[in-house]
């Protein structure tokens, strides 16, 4: 008995000693939880803002997918943004009009591997500087009517310092597939070269021929767009005229004609896009408002029938065939000798023709015609050569404005309705 117990004691002692010896000194293993962010490997982009400006305000830096550039090059929306407050950016010079340059660090966090472009602007508070009339710092990313720069704001971008061309930045991966941080990126802002000359092209719509409805087979609807001055609450748009110009993307001094229809391409551009069914401002096939077309099944995207009777298996970006009526604009853009002007001019109204044809503009370079006219509400979007845009309807539509603390403007509730 005692021998057995002794043996047992020795065994137990051995186990205890062994357990003490193996007492773990290794770090705990990394096991991501159900938190979505823990299951994604990302990196960051960081660097400095370099600002040369007498104007003062917060700097806002946006990151875009390089394949979805913002207006005027495309219709992409920012993936994310960061703000460098004026106090941090200008420091002791905040209350002065010293031109700089001023520098401040910035960072864009949790950036996945990919190619990006960085744009930004100084949301200038000209009221503090005593300018009359003035704009306060009026940027607000959550509303369409407040999410773009206005007069006096100073544009910026990550550009090639040698030629000023916007850079495409790439977040690469290491050998194990983990993204690598991109550091020492410079985003430059220059009041001298990139100050925004005018407010956004806020407009109101008048239907020239008939009501605001359109039916299949009907003649084109003609819309007259006139500047809409808005000064109420958080939205200040002093739009007196529209800035028009020929498109000259290749900068050869001659107007472009991308579609070869013999009519020179013009700024601004107009898009008539289908809205999601039901009330509100959501765009069709972009119910999550991220600017990227929803998936078919996962996100409730709709695949419309194309003119050839097929479906392409992807959600469609439905637009109506629409364009500026060019005659008056082209006339305004030619000098007394009939030569095209290389500088923009202002016009007091724009005439927009909307045809009763629907297109899938998923690929803007090659829109595909759809079968029939998808019924529903359509918005009118004007894209200015400065990259500033305006859309009707928007949050200033009285039923919407009342719920979000904005001052309603009746004209901003206009929709073109396809019956």
């Amino acid at each position: 008995m005692s021998r057995t117990l002794s043996s047992w004691k020795q065994s137990l002692g051995g186990v205890l000693a062994a357990s003490l010896l193996v007492a773990g000194c290794e770090s705990p293993t990394v096991v991501p939880t159900a938190d979505g962010r823990q299951n994604i490997h990302t990196a960051r982009i960081e660097g400095n803002l370099v600002v040369q400006s007498r104007a003062r305000g917060n700097a806002v830096v946006f990151i875009y997918d390089a394949s979805r550039p913002p207006p005027p090059q495309g219709t992409g929306r920012p993936i994310a943004f960061t703000v460098v407050p004026a106090e941090q950016l200008f420091g002791p010079a905040l209350g002065t009009d010293a031109p700089g340059p001023f520098t401040a660090p910035f960072a864009l966090s949790l950036v996945a591997a990919g190619k990006y472009t960085l744009r930004g602007f100084i949301d200038v508070d000209s009221c503090s500087a005593g300018v009359v009339p003035c704009h306060g710092s009026d940027f607000n990313p959550w509303y369409g009517v407040t999410s773009e720069p206005n007069t006096g704001d100073v544009g910026g971008a990550a550009v090639d310092p040698t030629n000023g061309v916007p850079l495409t930045l790439e977040v690469t991966k290491d050998a194990e597939g983990n993204p690598l941080p991109l550091t020492n990126v410079t985003v430059s802002f220059s009041q001298a070269t990139a100050q925004v000359p005018l407010d956004r092209p806020a407009f109101q719509v008048t239907v020239v021929n008939g009501d605001h409805t359109l039916t299949a087979g009907a003649p084109p609807k003609v819309l007259r767009l006139t500047p809409q001055n808005i000064e109420g609450g958080a939205v200040v748009q002093r739009s007196k005229a529209f800035l028009v110009s020929f498109v000259d993307a290749n900068r050869d001094g001659a107007p472009d004609d991308a579609n070869g229809d013999g009519v020179p391409d013009l700024w601004p551009r107009v898009v008539v896009r289908k809205l999601a069914d039901g009330p509100g401002l959501l765009e069709d096939n972009d119910l999550d408002r991220n600017g990227i077309l929803d998936g078919i099944l996962e996100e409730g995207g709709i695949d419309y029938v194309h003119a050839d009777g097929t479906r392409d298996g992807q959600p469609d970006l439905v637009v109506l065939g629409a364009a500026l009526v060019p005659d008056a604009i082209v006339a305004a853009l030619k000098d007394e000798n009939g030569n095209p002007r290389t500088t923009p001019v202002f016009v007091q109204e724009l005439m927009v023709g909307v045809q009763a044809i629907a297109l899938d503009a998923r690929d803007p370079a090659a829109p595909a015609r759809l079968d029939g006219l998808p019924k529903g509400r359509y918005s009118v979007v004007l894209i200015q050569s400065t990259g500033q845009t305006w859309r009707v309807p928007n949050e200033l539509a009285p039923p919407i404005a009342a719920g979000i603390g904005l001052t309603g403007v009746e004209s901003q509730a206009f929709v073109l309705e396809v019956l």
Partner: protein, 838 residues
């Protein structure tokens, strides 16, 4: 050879299982021996009966057992042994010492007379009249004495009238010189009955408790091998224990568990450890060690009628050893996997009327798992040590000075320097707190009057354990001070039956400095309560309680009152069986976090955006209306007791975060942070009313010497009047089924074995997450969580009896799992412990 050794070990195990002189649940075993002994004595089988009583006393000393042994010796005519045992009884300073001393004197006189006459018969049964001359008279007297003994036995076996005090229960081992072999008032006059102090704020039999009550004894704690308080609570029927990290757990009762579980009041010797500015209990920061705990009483059901705010779903009262009641010195060291290291020193002592207990300890353990690796290009780790899940060094001192019977002053204090984890609400994830906790407590007892005061302090740094590089940090500093004073009065009186009255008043000052809350916040609370237990007519008792709490914000942001009534009826038709029915309401007050928060939570990956979370000073308290039926019973002969409870909890005005509402443009930029606010989520009272219905059963069994079995089961269903099951967080997050089973086997000689299993059924957690495609959109996502079982085991060995003990503990021996979607992946650990009591 190897086979031979294996067989040898199997044989050894069998031998151990068959060993004699074994113990399992000491109270139940002692009680079984006591009852068997009394039964044998009743049959005049004195030798066998006395042997059983001696065995009961050896297992768990109780002075009344000595008295009964002495009586049996006396009845058996063994005057010398009777005298010796009576004297041991008197040495324990019982209340009836004068009458027993008279008995001793009479017996001594008889003994002397007996010695003088040599042949005179033993007639020393009692200091009573001379023996009658006739045989008939002797027979009559014998019958009378037998009836009297049975009546005494019956009285001793029934619950007492409860004149004991509400001071912590104490078992006083005989090894401490200078301390009498006695138990204090909490042990009661009935040997080995389970006593509780929390249910009625006075010592009483658990049979008399108006709520479902579970007691975890020091012995349970030791045999479990548990290293944390929450792990111990898994054995409580209806307890939801959710460990997210090694140092972070949330505990609820009867559902409604969540990150920051806020509906169960946790006390240590009556001092709150529920941090009511946050609404949670930081279990790993409680500055006492498991080896300092005398017992844990868990009241499963509303306790606001006595304890006020936050005792909504229950009360967990951790009762520490009374100063001077333990070993003069005890060292404990532990090491194990996961860099687990702990060491403690505990000492009890006394000098005259002054008794003290002091302890110092250090402990640390790695996290079970980490959410992020180091040196990532996107995430910075803010935790001072990202591997450590819990680390702390603490010290406590507790002293009591007795001026006389029922008059004493107690002072205690402690300090704890710690690092641990917290898992906050909403979009916030894994936080660390690197802080300092301290408390001081003073108690004055003057007969029926008691004054209790304490101060709780927390300060330190806290913040997310990890944050995206480049994102604004949410790191912060916290300072909280709480001052509490309470005056209690207890009195028994007769008015249409016996009454036991308890009344009390309480005041509390809270001051919190925390930039999540804005400026320094301060609140003053006051409360008064009364409880009367009325023994209307045996076997029926009524317990009526009422408490009113004054809270500075309860009336829509202005001072208001919260009323908490409770009525219970107890029916004890036969000995050892109590049936109860109760109805009560309880409440949880809005925390500072819920009232005052203004916190901008960065939107992940969008450094210019934040989500605003705000408090709401107009919140109503969360309200509970509860009904309960219960049956608590015991069979001393079988060494078994059980508790069965059926309940319905109706909860309304739950406080939670609203969906994000977009802010007007003028309010959606925060200049201080340079962030645009995607919207605001504020604490609101929910419209839904939730109904939880359930049944709980618990069983403790010590059927044969050495074997202890504990088992419990709880089933519950939570429904909402407005929400479908799939959308109802409290419904889907509450596990429907919880099972617990534990077996211990202990040889008195040297070995102990224990294993327990806790099963929790699957749940679905509805949590906020930024949308993957657009982090500025906050979505509610369902996170299914599978069922899991927690298995722990312990083997202990007394290397040197009463001096050196070693043990090997396996923790979380089941399959790896998580107990919350955002919690650690919990994996097994093994610890070795060494306890030296020189």
């Amino acid at each position: 050879m190897r086979h031979y050794k294996a067989l040898q070990r199997v044989g050894l195990l069998a031998l151990c299982l068959c060993a004699t002189q074994v113990l399992a649940d000491a109270r139940l075993e002692a009680r079984r021996h006591f009852r068997n002994g009394m039964s044998l004595i009743g049959k005049k089988e004195y030798d066998e009966g006395i042997a059983e009583l001696e065995q009961a006393y050896a297992i768990k000393p109780h002075p009344n057992v000595l008295y009964n042994i002495a009586r049996a010796y006396q009845d058996a005519g063994r005057t010398a042994e009777a005298l010796d045992t009576y004297k041991r009884y008197v040495a324990s300073s019982p209340a009836d010492a004068p009458s027993v001393e008279a008995t001793i004197a009479a017996l001594e006189e008889k003994q002397r007379a007996s010695q003088a006459t040599a042949e005179s018969p033993d007639n020393s049964a009692l200091p009573m009249p001379p023996p009658p001359a006739s045989i008939q008279s002797q027979q009559q007297l014998g019958a009378l004495l037998e009836r009297l003994e049975k009546a005494i036995e019956r009285a001793e076996s029934m619950p007492t009238t409860g004149t004991g005090t509400a001071t912590p229960s104490t078992y006083v081992p005989s090894v401490l010189p200078g301390v009498a072999e006695t138990a204090n008032g909490d042990d009661g006059a009935v040997p080995y009955e389970e006593r509780v102090v929390t249910a009625s704020r006075r010592a009483q039999s658990s049979l008399e408790a108006p709520n479902a009550t579970t007691v975890i004894t020091a012995e349970d704690i030791r045999l479990s091998g548990a290293t944390s308080l929450p792990e111990l609570l898994r054995r409580v029927p209806g307890a939801d224990v959710m460990s997210l990290g090694i140092g972070s757990a949330n505990v609820s009762l009867r559902g409604f568990n969540q990150r920051i579980a806020n509906k169960v009041l946790v006390l240590v010797d009556g001092r709150t450890e529920y941090q009511d500015f946050l609404g949670l209990t930081l279990w790993s920061t409680i500055p006492i060690g498991l080896d300092e705990i005398e017992r844990i009483e868990v009241i499963r059901g509303p306790g606001s009628a006595l304890y006020g705010a936050n005792a909504m779903l229950g009360v967990i009262n951790i009762i520490t050893q009374a100063p001077g009641s333990g070993p003069r010195a005890r060292f404990n060291v532990m090491a194990g996997t996961g860099s687990s290291v702990a060491g403690s020193f505990l000492s009890h002592g006394n000098t005259g009327a002054l008794r003290y207990r002091t302890s110092v300890a250090y402990s640390q353990a790695d996290k079970w798992s980490r959410d992020y690796a180091s040196n990532r290009p996107d995430i910075v780790l803010r935790d001072p040590d990202p591997d450590i899940g819990m680390r702390g060094a603490r010290g406590t001192l507790s002293a009591v000075y007795s001026f006389g019977e029922g008059k004493q002053v107690g002072l205690s204090g402690g300090v704890h320097r710690y690092t641990t984890e917290i898992y906050p609400l909403g979009l916030l994830r894994n936080y660390f707190i690197d802080g300092l906790g301290a408390y001081a407590k003073g108690d004055v007892e003057l007969g029926p009057l008691k004054l209790k005061t304490f101060w709780n302090h927390i300060s330190g740094n806290a913040g997310p354990q990890y944050e995206p590089i480049g994102q604004r940090s949410l790191g912060t500093e916290i300072s909280s001070n709480l001052f509490n004073a309470e005056l209690l009065f207890a009195r028994a009186f007769q008015l249409g039956g016996e009454h036991q009255l308890n009344v009390g008043v309480e005041g509390r000052l809270k001051r919190v400095g925390w930039d999540y809350l804005g400026p320094l916040r301060e609140e003053i609370h006051a409360a008064a309560f009364v409880q009367d237990e009325w023994r209307l007519a045996e076997p029926l008792r009524l317990v009526a309680s009422y408490r009113v709490d004054r809270h500075p914000l309860l009336d829509n942001g202005t001072p208001g009152l919260a009323h908490s009534p409770r009525i219970s009826a107890l029916f004890i038709p036969i000995e050892g069986h109590a049936f109860r029915i109760s109805a009560a309401s309880a409440f949880r007050e809005p925390t500072f976090l819920e009232s005052y928060t203004r916190l901008l939570v960065p939107v992940q990956g969008v450094n210019g955006a934040s989500a605003l979370t705000t408090g709401n000073t107009g919140l109503r308290p969360e309200r509970l209306t509860a009904f309960e039926l219960g049956w608590r019973g015991e069979s001393a002969e079988l060494g078994m007791d059980w508790d069965l409870a059926l309940y319905q909890n109706r909860v309304k005005d739950l406080i939670g975060l609203s969906a994000f509402e977009r802010l007007p443009p003028g309010e959606s930029y925060d200049g201080a942070t340079g962030n645009y606010l995607i919207g605001r989520s504020r604490f609101v009272n929910e419209d839904s009313i939730y109904t939880a219905r359930g049944v709980e059963a618990g069983l403790t069994l010590a059927p044969v010497d050495g074997l202890g079995v504990k088992a419990s089961a709880a089933f519950q269903n939570v429904t909402s009047d407005l929400e479908e099951k799939a959308e109802c967080g409290p419904c889907s997050q509450a596990p429907q089924l919880k099972l617990y089973g534990g077996v211990t086997y202990r040889t008195k000689a040297d070995l102990e074995f224990g294993v327990d299993v806790a099963f929790t059924s699957s749940t679905t957690w509805i949590e906020r997450e930024p949308a993957a495609s657009d982090p500025t959109r906050i979505e509610l996502l369902s996170n299914p969580l599978g069922a899991y079982a927690v298995i722990n085991a312990r083997v202990g060995y007394a290397a040197v009896k009463n001096t050196v003990d070693v043990a090997l503990v396996g923790s979380q021996l089941g399959s790896a799992h998580s107990q919350h979607p955002f919690g650690n992946r919990i994996e097994r650990r093994v610890y070795a412990t060494l306890t030296v009591t020189p």
